[in-house]
């Protein structure tokens, strides 16, 4: 079942009156339960593509439909709510809220969704267990390692039971051990809970784990391989 459908997507940046085609006519679709890696050199348009798919940036042309909803047509407020309900985000720099504990960071989105305390506690404890952070619930980000922070970020991304998770270079700041651990967790969540991951990366270890590898160059899809 298709959950994301991208049609003729273009993003043009006008810097110093020179037009730069960051995304140049991309047509893609993603099925539920996929683990996809988007690869390509720096500046190829991976992050821009992910930002547009995640509703964080506007497209110059084309459309993105998620779960049958064309997100280009949503108002800013509806798009924010849509992101909260349907999309999980994992960022390169973890980007946890520094004043909240690991548990509070994970339940932050559930708070926004208005979930009750019981439901929040249950889901948070399941997720922190799944990412191997049991016993660290009450630590603030500053008391966690980079790998642990990124695992909290994965748990946060999954808290709202999104349709898919967009991860932008999630392993870029992690050491090998933390990378392996994070990837194992993501793979396990993908296989066991059918969570769809779309990961932009330079990291070959991520590429190895992915079942689909999309290569982008100069804003265009140059290859799309399924393993």
């Amino acid at each position: 079942m298709k959950i994301i459908e991208i049609k003729n997507l273009r993003k043009v940046y006008n810097s110093d009156s020179v037009a730069v085609n960051a995304v140049n006519g991309v047509d893609l679709s993603f099925e539920e339960g996929e683990f996809s890696a988007i690869v390509g050199p720096s500046g190829s348009g991976k992050t821009t593509l992910l930002n547009i798919v995640g509703g964080l940036d506007d497209a110059t042309e084309g459309s993105v439909s998620i779960d049958g909803v064309k997100i280009n047509d949503l108002s800013a407020r509806k798009l924010t709510d849509f992101r909260m309900e349907k999309i999980g985000f994992v960022f390169q720099a973890y980007n946890l809220i520094p004043v909240l504990t690991a548990k509070e960071n994970v339940e932050f989105i559930m708070h926004l969704q208005g979930a009750g305390k019981k439901a929040r506690d249950k889901r948070t404890s399941e997720l922190l267990k799944a990412v191997g952070l049991e016993g660290m619930e009450n630590r603030r980000p500053s008391k966690l390692s980079g790998g642990q922070q990124q695992r909290v970020a994965v748990a946060r991304a999954l808290a709202s039971k999104p349709k898919f998770v967009l991860a932008d270079e999630p392993t870029a700041n992690l050491d090998s051990k933390s990378t392996e651990k994070l990837l194992d967790i993501m793979e396990q969540l993908n296989k066991e809970e059918k969570i769809t991951f779309i990961v932009s990366t330079h990291d070959q270890r991520v590429v190895k784990k992915a079942r689909r590898v999309i290569t982008i160059e100069d804003g265009k899809v140059v290859s799309d391989e399924r393993k």
Binding site: G54, L56, D57, V99, L100, Q113
Partner: protein, 407 residues
């Protein structure tokens, strides 16, 4: 909302030193502003108190025509019911009769025009503390036939205590008035004009002199709440007969009110400068807070927090700083002002002290405990916080996630 409050509170303490410095600056400013205003208003209160006790009292009930044409024809006969009703009004502490006119005084070959004031000695003494200004002889008693004159007049007319003063004037309805009065006391009045020209008689003696039984030119009214004079005027006005009017000290001595207003204006400009400094201090903190957390705002908006909620959170943070600072400032200000209200600061320097005493003023710096002086500062800081919080709200409104996350 609870999440927002929790987040705002924790965000406040993520840079403890900065928050403490900002709150301290607000505390200090509220303290300084309240202290300044309390001292300023305390001084005005003392000044008003001295001036009204000098002569006019806080309010006077007169015949409607008296203020413009001060003759004995524009007088009235206050009924005991009227006086009793005025005394019943809250905040009225004293009501005293006066009869006020002019006369020509003489002794031997010397003569001098004079202001004659018929008074109820005990009550008048409570108003003007005149007995304390007596330097020779003694003050009047209720049915006294004598007079009290100033040192200036005594010196000019070459009179001493026990000597006789001749007075000639025109009494009520044009009857001629003349009499001989024993000098009972000589006072040193701080006002040169009064010292040279004022003569005190008991009310009864003055009425007899002017052939005006039961007549008064005014009822002097005192209160212990000088801020409530206008309300008092309204209340008294309602129970007065048609021929009478009530005037406040401001109407009788507008120059004093003008002096206070202009001085108060100067003080408020100083406060304005102080608050501009506070506002810039707070603004710079909020600006830094917004700039350094731009990425974080991008992230929380990306994961689904609406801009309105982010704005609310920032608004709460700014508000919390303002409210905490102003409440602590208010508390300390009230404590300090309360101490100085009960223990006014004495003037130093013998000359200043004797000059103050000569003018019948206590040689102290007084403080006011008027509540509005304190809570107004709090309201001001609160309003400044509200205005400053518009900056983060504006910034969040313009937030672009991708740009913020590149920050």
């Amino acid at each position: 909302m609870r999440t927002n409050i929790k987040l705002a509170w924790r965000n406040l303490w993520r840079n403890k030193r900065r928050t403490i410095i900002t709150i301290s600056s607000i505390v200090f400013s509220v303290l300084l502003a309240s202290f300044m205003r309390s001292l300023q208003e305390g001084s005005y209160g003392s000044m008003i108190d001295n001036v009204v006790k000098f002569y006019s009292g806080y309010l006077q009930v007169q015949d409607s025509a008296f203020w413009d044409e001060r003759t004995l024809e524009n007088t009235f006969q206050p009924s005991p019911e009227l006086i009793s009703n005025i005394k019943k009004i809250d905040d009225v502490t004293l009501v005293s009769h006066r009869i006020e006119s002019a006369a020509l005084t003489a002794n031997g070959m010397r003569s001098k025009p004079a202001m004659v004031l018929g008074i109820e000695p005990e009550l008048e003494d409570k108003i003007t503390n005149i007995s304390k200004k007596i330097t020779k002889g003694s003050f009047l008693t209720p049915h006294d036939n004598g007079v009290v004159i100033g040192e200036g007049m005594a010196s000019y007319l070459e009179l001493g205590v026990g000597d006789t003063l001749t007075m000639i004037s025109q009494g009520y309805h044009g009857i001629s008035a003349n009499g001989l009065f024993r000098v009972k006391g000589i006072m040193s009045h701080p006002n040169k004009e009064y010292d040279n020209r004022l003569i005190y008689l008991s009310l009864e003696t003055a009425r007899n002199f002017y052939s005006a039984p039961g007549i008064s030119t005014s009822l002097v009214i005192m209160t212990d709440n000088h801020y409530g004079v206008n309300q008092l005027k309204k209340k008294i006005g309602k129970i007065l007969p048609e021929q009478n009017t009530v005037m406040t000290w401001v109407e009788m001595q507008p120059e004093l009110e003008q002096l206070i207003q202009s001085d108060r204006g100067g003080g408020i400009i100083m406060l304005g400068v102080l608050y501009v400094v506070i506002a810039f201090g707070m603004f710079s903190v909020v600006m830094m807070m917004v700039k350094e957390r731009k990425r974080e705002f991008g992230v929380i908006h990306a994961v689904g927090m609406r801009k309105t909620k982010i704005s609310t959170m920032l608004f709460l943070e700014t508000l919390m700083i303002g409210v905490i600072g102003s409440i602590i400032g208010l508390f300390i200000s009230v404590l300090i002002a309360f101490y100085f209200y009960h223990n006014p600061i004495p003037f130093s320097g013998e000359q200043v002290v004797s000059a103050s005493e000569k003018f019948g003023m206590a040689p102290y710096l007084f403080f006011s405990m008027k509540p509005s002086l304190f809570y107004n500062q709090m309201i001001l800081v609160f309003s400044i916080s509200l205005i400053i919080s518009l900056f983060p709200i504006y910034n969040i409104h313009r937030l672009k996630i991708t740009k913020a996350m590149r920050n």
